[in-house]
Amino acid sequence: MSKTRSAPVKQYARFKSPSDRLFDAGNITFMLLLVIVTLYPFLNTLAVSFNEAVDSVKGGIYLWPRAFTWENYHYVFNEATIFHATLISVLRTVIGTVASVFCCAMVAYTISRPEYVLRKFVSLAFILTMYFSGGLIPNFLLIRELGMIGTFAVYIIPGLIGVFNIIVIRSFIEALPEGILESARIDGAGEFATFLKVVLPLCIPVLATVSLFSAVGQWNSWFDVFLYNSSYKELSTLQYELMKILQNSNTSLNTGQDFASQFANSESGANRVTPTSIRATMTIVASVPIILVYPFLQKYFVKGMTLGGVKG
């Protein structure tokens, strides 16, 4: 009965009234504007980064470089500070993400086991921390007392576990068919083997989401460098170097502390690069890895967000 009635409704829906068409046209125009507003600043920065520094000073660079050059990239990648900072950024992203995701998954697995006696206690201990935090200074004092200032470990260990990640992974594990875990246990696999060989591979979709969040967080963070390692040059990261350049260009009084202005004033850099061109180039270098990765993980993080939003 309902089937026979729904057919004419659908046909009716296909008919577009003039006001409908107007709405669609307006909507599409709005979306195109949104795309332009979102992308233009990136494309403009990209154009400046490929334009000769001295020429950029004249202004008028919009979407395309006027005097094309690789020079800015050449200088940025040949500068030891930036090369090293990029290396640290990559290291903290890889190590931090792998360690964090593995540990979160492990905790999530234990609290997804209904028979685990500490399940409630562990869950509660973790979830409680979502509602308070010691704050900036107590955390700083703790890190100092632990002797972690000036170490690489400060990028990995204090942020090892994210409660939100645990919740998302646990929900995913709980939704797995129970039979799979049962059969692994009947085959004689221990808890850890079950986790490693059965649960982890099944969790790849959710682990992809959590890894993306974790990797983006690691790659983008500069505040921990600023707070704990600002006087340890060998532990500086790309974002922190960019942040220093930005801070100096924001204050009209250029203190010449950052590498871009030092470089622009140096003999080899003079008249060839400017702080503006280096900033544009580093902005691109700092965002390209993310731009290349996130579109491919879209379907995962959309699911992860929805799940986290509903449960979290």
Binding site: V9, Y12, A13, D20, F23, D24, I28, L34, V35, V37, T38, L39, P41, F42, N44, T45, Y62, C103, M106, V107, Y109, T110, I111, R113, V117, L118, Y131, F132, G134, G135, L136, I137, P138, N139, F140, L141, L142, L160, I161, G190, E191, F195, W219, N220, S221, F223, Q239, I245, Q247, T251, T283, A286, S287, I291, Y294, Q298, V302, M305, T306, G309
Partner: protein
Amino acid sequence: MRDIEPLSPAQVDALPLPPGRKSFFKKLVQQKTLVFMSVPFLIWLFIFKYMPLWGWTIAFQDFRANRKVFDQHWVGWKHFKFLFQDEHFFLVLRNTLAMSFINLVLGFFTAITLAILLNELRNIAFKRVVQTISYLPHFISWVVAASIISTVLSADGGIINELLMAVGLIKEPILWLGVGKYFWGILGASEVWKNVGWNTIIYLAAITTIDPAQYEAAEIDGAGRFQRIWHVTVPGLKPVFIILLIMNIGSLLESGFEPQYLLGNGMNVDYSENLDIFVLKYGIQMGNFSLSIAAGMFKTVVSFILLFSANHIAKRLGEDRLF
């Protein structure tokens, strides 16, 4: 009254454990792998999440880093009293609340509008492309975003100034980040630019749960496009909206840190400095840990109260709760 003889250790050992505890320990031994897989992280949790709470005691001391823990001088509510008599603190509080409020209202309005408009797109491929592009700014760091924003707003060839001059709205370029009263607006717009696409995800997910029969029924009743949006889509988003509102009210004092810090400068400091920057300034840069922690504590406690009140109100209104 008769004295009860204390039991000797041997007698204690011989006593049977209460059945609950016995099976608890037995189970704990049985599940030792699970214990090994989670207890190390409980220790981590204790050190990095619970131990810093001890630092709150510093707010009640005249903390000197060179004194030992038990030699610190206790001063009661002194730092809190100072804080609530400090004009600067109220300025910072005003900025925090203003920016939070602007972000809250603008954030909800733009994300819900964009989600509804995206949902109305008929070409699925186009919709997907727009969505993917709209997520982009969310993933880049605030450092990159701030760099881009300050370029766009630059008085020296920034696109905003050029556009406004081209249409004749202004004659001279404006130093946008150099005028305090523009800062809240710039921050609100930056937050929208960065997060509006991302924030639509949850609303779009909520829209997919609306029963299509409702749209058909509305159509049969002669509802136009706008009426269907207003009477079917918008009510369908209400539960999600309420949950997110509760969560956001809980973080009303969290107006963000990075954008204000990165876009703030000496010229707009009266509008850009918020609680988090205040804490950083007093704590790390001036070394006044006690005052800084007092301000941080104030923030945490108020947030906690706000969250629970909002949750309670939502419960009484019969809406979905957070917990």
